[in-house]
C-alpha cells in the first residue's frame, strides 16, 4: 500500500511540477503548485512526519499559495507573453538542471541501500517529539525566527504603503 500511495502522490507531484513549468497562465501554475504541495503533504505523512504534513497544508497550500493567487488576481496577471528572454537560460538552464538531476539521481539510486527503506508507521514523529528538540536544542533559531517575521511584517507594510 505504501508503494502504491507513494507512486500515486509522487506521480501527482511530478505532474504538478511539470504542469507548473508548461502552463502559461500563472493561475494554472499556481494551482499545479498547490497540487504538488498537497501531494507532498501526503508523502510527508508516509514518511512519518505528520505535524509537517499538516503544517505543509496550512502554511504552503493554505497561506503562501493563497497569497500567490491573491496577488495574481489582484494584478490580474494575464497569460505569459512569449518573449525570448536570455538565450543563456535555455542554453545553460535546461542542461544544467538536467545534469543536476542526473547526478543526484545517479547517486541516490546507486546508493539506495544505504538510505534504507521507509515503512508506514515506523518512526512516527509526534508533535511533542518535534517540540522537544525545537524548544531545547534549537531554541535560539526558533526565537530568532521572530525577528525574521518582524522584518517581513515591517517590509510588507513599508513596501505596500501608498506614497504620501
Amino acid at each position: 500500500m505504501h508503494l502504491a500511495l507513494f507512486i500515486i502522490f509522487a506521480g501527482l507531484c511530478v505532474a504538478g511540477a511539470l504542469n507548473l513549468l508548461l502552463q502559461r497562465h500563472p493561475i494554472n501554475s499556481a494551482l499545479s503548485l498547490i497540487v504538488v504541495m498537497s501531494s507532498l503533504a501526503v508523502l510527508y505523512l508516509l514518511l512519518g512526519a505528520e505535524f509537517l504534513a499538516a503544517a505543509q497544508v496550512i502554511v504552503y497550500s493554505g497561506a503562501i499559495m493563497v497569497l500567490f493567487t491573491f496577488v495574481i488576481m489582484l494584478l490580474n496577471a494575464g497569460k505569459e507573453e512569449r518573449t525570448h528572454g536570455s538565450k543563456l537560460a535555455y542554453i545553460a538552464g535546461f542542461p544544467g538542471a538536467a545534469a543536476l538531476l542526473g547526478l543526484l539521481a545517479f547517486i541516490f539510486i546507486s546508493r539506495r541501500s544505504s538510505f534504507g527503506q521507509a515503512r508506514l508507521g515506523e518512526y512516527l514523529a509526534t508533535t511533542s517529539d518535534l517540540s522537544r528538540v525545537l524548544f531545547k536544542d534549537l531554541l535560539l533559531p526558533f526565537e530568532v525566527t521572530s525577528v525574521l517575521i518582524l522584518i517581513a511584517i515591517l517590509g510588507a507594510v513599508a513596501l505596500a504603503r501608498k506614497e504620501h
Partner: protein
C-alpha cells in the same frame, strides 16, 4: 515499503524542475513560484534524510523535520515580502514580464 532513495530522487526531480522553471518562465509570479517549488523539494529531501537517519541510528531523529519547519516559516516570510515587492514593481511598471523589467541593463 519504499526505498527512501525514491523520495530523494523525487526531491531531485522537483528541484530540477524548479530550477528549469526559474530560468525559463517569464512571468515574475511564476518565477517566484518555481522558487517555492525548489524549497518544497528541499523540504522533501530533509524529511527523507531525517527518516534515513532514524533508520541508521535506530531511534527517531527529528532534526531534519525541524529544518523543514523553519523553511516553512522562512518561506512564508519570503512570500510576504516577495509579493509586496512584486506589487510594488507592478505599480511602477504595469507589467509582470521578467524581460520587461529592464530599465537597468545587465
Amino acid at each position: 515499503m519504499v526505498p527512501i532513495a525514491y523520495y530523494l530522487v523525487l526531491s531531485a526531480i522537483l528541484f530540477s524542475i524548479g530550477v528549469a522553471a526559474f530560468l525559463i518562465k517569464r512571468n515574475i509570479i511564476t518565477v517566484f513560484m518555481s522558487i517555492e517549488l525548489m524549497l518544497n523539494a528541499v523540504n522533501l529531501a530533509f524529511i527523507a534524510f531525517s527518516r534515513q537517519w532514524s533508520q541508521v541510528t535506530g531511534h527517531l531523529q527529528v532534526n531534519g523535520q525541524i529544518f523543514v519547519f523553519f523553511v516553512m516559516v522562512v518561506a512564508a516570510a519570503e512570500a510576504a515580502v516577495g509579493l509586496a515587492i512584486i506589487i510594488a514593481v507592478f505599480r511602477a511598471r504595469n507589467t509582470l514580464n521578467v524581460d520587461s523589467i529592464d530599465l537597468m541593463k545587465l
